[in-house]
Structures are given as structure tokens and as C-alpha cells.
């Protein structure tokens, strides 16, 4: 028989891969590349400040001498989702730009990241302020790698990236669902 209007709509829609499945094709390789790069950059050793005696500063933050810094490296999955790795002899700064596909997710990720950054002391490796252009930053120093397992630190970073993406998508869905229910209830009085 003839295909009705609503069926063409359904066929049309189902033939496009969802935006999340397009994204999903690069997630594993992206996280693997980040994992390998972080592992390579996490070779840290104690290095006292060359400028001020008896001081020990994370060189990636102080940037006192060029010979102590590694080349910064950016790994992006999309122009809006990337990771910046800045290494040095005694510290590594990892800055993450979280995936945000619409306004709701932008607001949510900003709040979420700020919530965590304010509790940076308890987090140990978190930086209080994200590097400009990114949503959240980690600062790992040689002291951290001396007390914690390197491979566990890397696992943590990768797990963090996955979990944050998942959480934000979930919260965005919940917000939309609640908004729909509220609007329905509200508009019932006008029916």
C-alpha cells in the first residue's frame, strides 16, 4: 500500500545515525590516545626551583625556564571536545574541554565543573581554576606520583572523562523530562 505521511517521517528519521552513535565511533580511540599521551607525559621527578633557593614549584605553572617544559599537545575529538596536555620536568597539567552539544549541557557542565573545582583541596590533583579555553584542569606533580600509582592516576583521568560525559547527558535528559512534565501539568489548566 502507499506509505503514509507519518511513516515517511519515521523512515526518514531512523535512517540517520543518531548524533551519539557518530560520536561513539571515536570515543574509544580518543580515550586510548589520551591515555597513552598522559602515560608518556607522566614521567615526573623532583626538581627544586632553579630561581629561588629552597623552593619547589610545579614548573608547568611557574614556567621559569624553557628547558624544563615539554611541548604542549592537544588531542581533539571534535573542535569542541579536546584535551590539552602541558608537561614539564616535575609536573603535568591536563585541561579538558567537556562535550557540550547544546545550551543546557553548557550550563550543566559549567556548574558541575565549578562544583568540583571549588573542592579541589579534597580532590588533590584538581586545579582550582581551569586553564582558559577549557572546562576543568588537573595538576599532577612529582609528589603525587611518588605517593600514588601512575597507572591508577591515568585510569582515574580517563574514567573521569567518561563519567563526566555520561553524567551531563543524564542530567540534561532529566532536566528535559522534568520540563516536559511541568509544562504539561501547567498547560492542562488551559485545555
Amino acid at each position: 500500500g502507499r506509505i503514509t505521511g507519518s511513516e515517511t517521517f519515521a523512515i526518514h528519521f531512523s535512517s540517520f545515525p543518531s548524533i551519539h552513535s557518530i560520536m561513539a565511533t571515536t570515543l574509544r580511540p580518543y580515550l586510548n590516545a589520551v591515555r597513552q599521551s598522559v602515560t608518556a607525559a607522566l614521567c615526573l621527578q623532583n626538581f627544586a626551583s632553579q630561581i629561588v633557593e629552597r623552593h619547589n614549584k610545579p614548573e608547568v605553572e611557574a614556567k621559569t625556564s624553557k628547558e624544563l617544559l615539554l611541548n604542549p599537545v592537544v588531542i581533539s575529538r571534535t573542535p569542541k571536545e579536546r584535551v590539552l596536555l602541558e608537561g614539564s620536568v616535575n609536573s603535568l597539567r591536563i585541561s579538558i574541554k567537556v562535550k557540550q552539544i547544546n545550551d543546557i549541557e553548557e550550563i550543566l557542565s559549567k556548574r558541575f565543573m565549578r562544583f568540583m573545582a571549588q573542592r579541589a583541596e579534597n580532590f588533590v590533583i584538581l586545579r582550582r581554576k581551569p586553564v582558559s579555553g577549557y572546562d576543568i584542569s588537573f595538576l599532577i606533580t612529582n609528589f603525587h606520583t611518588e605517593t600514588m600509582f601512575k597507572h591508577k592516576l591515568v585510569d582515574f583521568i580517563i574514567q573521569f572523562m567518561e563519567d563526566v560525559d555520561k553524567e551531563i547527558s543524564e542530567i540534561a535528559l532529566a532536566v528535559n523530562a522534568r520540563a516536559r512534565v511541568t509544562a504539561q501539568e501547567f498547560l492542562k489548566q488551559f485545555v
Binding site: A40, N71, L85
Partner: protein, 136 residues
């Protein structure tokens, strides 16, 4: 003053113009190979003599040529091409993969290249990308 020789390479005496003409030749050679669908050949030409001492615009131009080869290849060509490269070229390739990943375009295929080179060289090529003064 110290910064100029700081890069750790002897100044080769090549001017930016020499570099630019090299890059243009490379571009033409690469395009020829790509027309013949010879990816491994195109890659070899593209990775030769990276312009370490040149100005930023020349480096960007060269990077565009190399990343073009990387992004126009298909996933099945990647492993074959990587298998044929020498160790030095693999390091150079890794540097260009990271350069390409900066923009966020075509990340799919670039991440495949990353994986393939990593499988062959391990963490070494990544460490060299991070630590070598000679940056592409």
C-alpha cells in the same frame, strides 16, 4: 640571543624561501602519488625533511600537506603504510598526527593513525613528540 641557538640544531642556512619551495615541491609530489592512489609513497614524500628550522607559516603549510595525506587515506591503508616506514619517519609521523589532532577535524582517521603508530613504536614516539625541541 640564547634562544635562537637554543633549539639545539645548527642553523642550516636555508632561508624561508628555500623551505617554501621545498614544501611546494613536496605538495606536488604528494598530489601526484595521491592521484595514483599510492598512499605509502605519498606519505614517504610528505614526511621527508620536515622543515624544523623554518618560520611558522612554512611549518603550517608543510603540516597541511602531511595532514592532508593522513586524512584522505582510508582505514585499511593505515596499517600497510605504517609498516613500511622507518623508525625516524614514524617519529615524524607521530608529531604530525598530534599536529592534526589539534584542530579537531577528521579526528576519526587521525586517531586510527595514532593507534597504528603507537602499536609499532610504543610510548617512545609520544615521548619524543613531547620532549624533542624540533617541533613540526
Amino acid at each position: 640571543m640564547a634562544d635562537e641557538n637554543y633549539e639545539g640544531e645548527a642553523p642550516t642556512g636555508k632561508s624561508d624561501n628555500d623551505y617554501t619551495s621545498e614544501v611546494k615541491d613536496r605538495e606536488r609530489g604528494v598530489q601526484q602519488k595521491l592521484l595514483q592512489s599510492d598512499f605509502a609513497g605519498a606519505l614517504e614524500i610528505a614526511l621527508q625533511d620536515p622543515p624544523y628550522g623554518a618560520g611558522q607559516s612554512v611549518k603550517d603549510h608543510n603540516a597541511k600537506v602531511v595532514v592532508n595525506v593522513l586524512t584522505t587515506s582510508k582505514e585499511k591503508d593505515v596499517d600497510a603504510a605504517v609498516a613500511k616506514l622507518s623508525d625516524d619517519n614514524l617519529d615524524v609521523l607521530m608529531k604530525y598526527v598530534y599536529k592534526g589532532l589539534e584542530s579537531g577535524e577528521n579526528s576519526n582517521i587521525l586517531l586510527k593513525w595514532h593507534e597504528s603508530v603507537f602499536a609499532k613504536t610504543g610510548l617512545g614516539s609520544i615521548v619524543r613528540t613531547l620532549a624533542e625541541r624540533k617541533a613540526v
